[in-house]
Symmetry: C2
């Protein structure tokens, strides 16, 4: 069997790896030893060939005629995503959303160690949220010299996001999960993922009122829904 790895990995593949990992954990808890790409399709709605192709960017993990060892594949994907060891992560912005994220169980499950929380609001600085005390963002550079966090979660208002992001980057943060609805202009070496509820709601809103006269009975499959009939213009 040929070997692979070498071409560039599509970003959507990385997202799906996280999904596979989740399913593998579930299977492991159910004491399932082996899984096929067809099983994964059943559990995730992601096409079986897609699953195999996603893995093929990183190597060969299955046995023809058999499938994949749940435990082994789990380890492999964790290694690929670098979540086979704990990663220090910082949160900036201890408002509603930020505070909610501190308790998010997915963080720990993915070996993300939320090691510090920062804010610029004197009202919040010093407050305890879960097991952490909110620190002054001014101290970020100093504190992160010790923490060495490379991933940050940015949950500040849009108006502050750019400024704060620059502070983070100056203190060696290399990846930002940005919840602020604004474009961050940062050096290309910094990876930014934007989470926008607005965008998702826009998609829903558009579809809801468009769907007035739907009529097919298929089951919904996967992660991303595709294109859709349009609406009329104006002007």
């Amino acid at each position: 069997m040929p070997m692979s790895s070498s071409n560039r990995v599509p970003v959507p593949t990385l997202g799906r790896l996280a999904t596979y990992l989740r399913v593998l954990t579930e299977l492991e808890q159910a004491h399932t030893e082996t899984v096929s790409s067809a099983d994964v399709e059943q559990q995730t709605g992601i096409n079986a060939a897609q699953f195999r192709k996603d893995l093929s960017y990183f190597g060969e993990f299955g046995k023809p005629g058999v499938g994949y060892s749940v435990a082994r594949l789990q380890e492999s994907i964790a290694a690929i995503l670098k979540i086979d060891r704990r990663q220090p992560v910082v949160l900036v912005g201890a408002g509603n959303l930020g505070s909610a994220l501190i308790g998010y169980p997915g963080l720990t499950e993915h070996q993300m160690d939320l090691v510090a929380v920062f804010d610029n609001n004197p009202q919040r600085i010093g407050c305890q949220v879960r097991n952490l005390y909110v620190q002054d963002i001014q101290r970020f550079a100093t504190v992160n010299e010790t923490l060495q966090a490379r991933i940050a979660i940015l949950a500040v208002p849009a108006g502050a996001a750019q400024r704060v992001a620059e502070v983070l980057v100056a203190a060696d943060v290399r990846a930002i999960l940005n919840f602020a609805p604004t474009l961050l202009r940062l050096p290309a070496a910094v990876v930014v993922r934007n989470v926008s509820f607005m965008q998702e709601l826009a998609v829903l809103s558009y579809h809801v009122s468009s769907n007035e006269q739907e009529e097919n009975g298929e089951e919904q499959a996967g992660e991303q829904n595709n294109s859709v009939r349009p609406i009329l213009h104006s002007t």
Copy 2:
């Protein structure tokens, strides 16, 4: 000038429309009357041709040599996304994340009226969160007969998500913003958008440790980053 509209609209286009709307609101507040696709690119990182193409699915909104009327375009996009009038939205799951979402300003900005909150936890039922009282999910069908919400935000644990989603759909919900890390199997007519922090963190985690020896100095541009050099395999 030719007319358009008629082909299917890519889903990413709908998400970007929400971004354009945000920028238009900012421009309006700055009393800017007119905007060009190049200006939009500057503000959003989204390619100017992309912006024009996105709009072209719905009609013609600009004047050659001039650009777009900020106020007019704002109205048009709001109409396309059906957020030109208030939409009732329900939230299910009053845990950390759910509670945080109740206060999310983006909801109101996008004319989403959060009209009710449900949970199944007796500890939470009856509690006040912001200006709403948490109701028993058992009463959902009855309550939604009056509310007529078609959009729901699902912020319950993964184990409960499928069951709850079916309750929602039975009560005529047609679009779900799903924060639970699990595949919802629902009739195809129901639109589901999954929000997965896990996936985003996976992408960040992968990149952080891969990026160890980067060296180009470009500015980061847009909404989605693209593919990336891979890592080694195992087995």
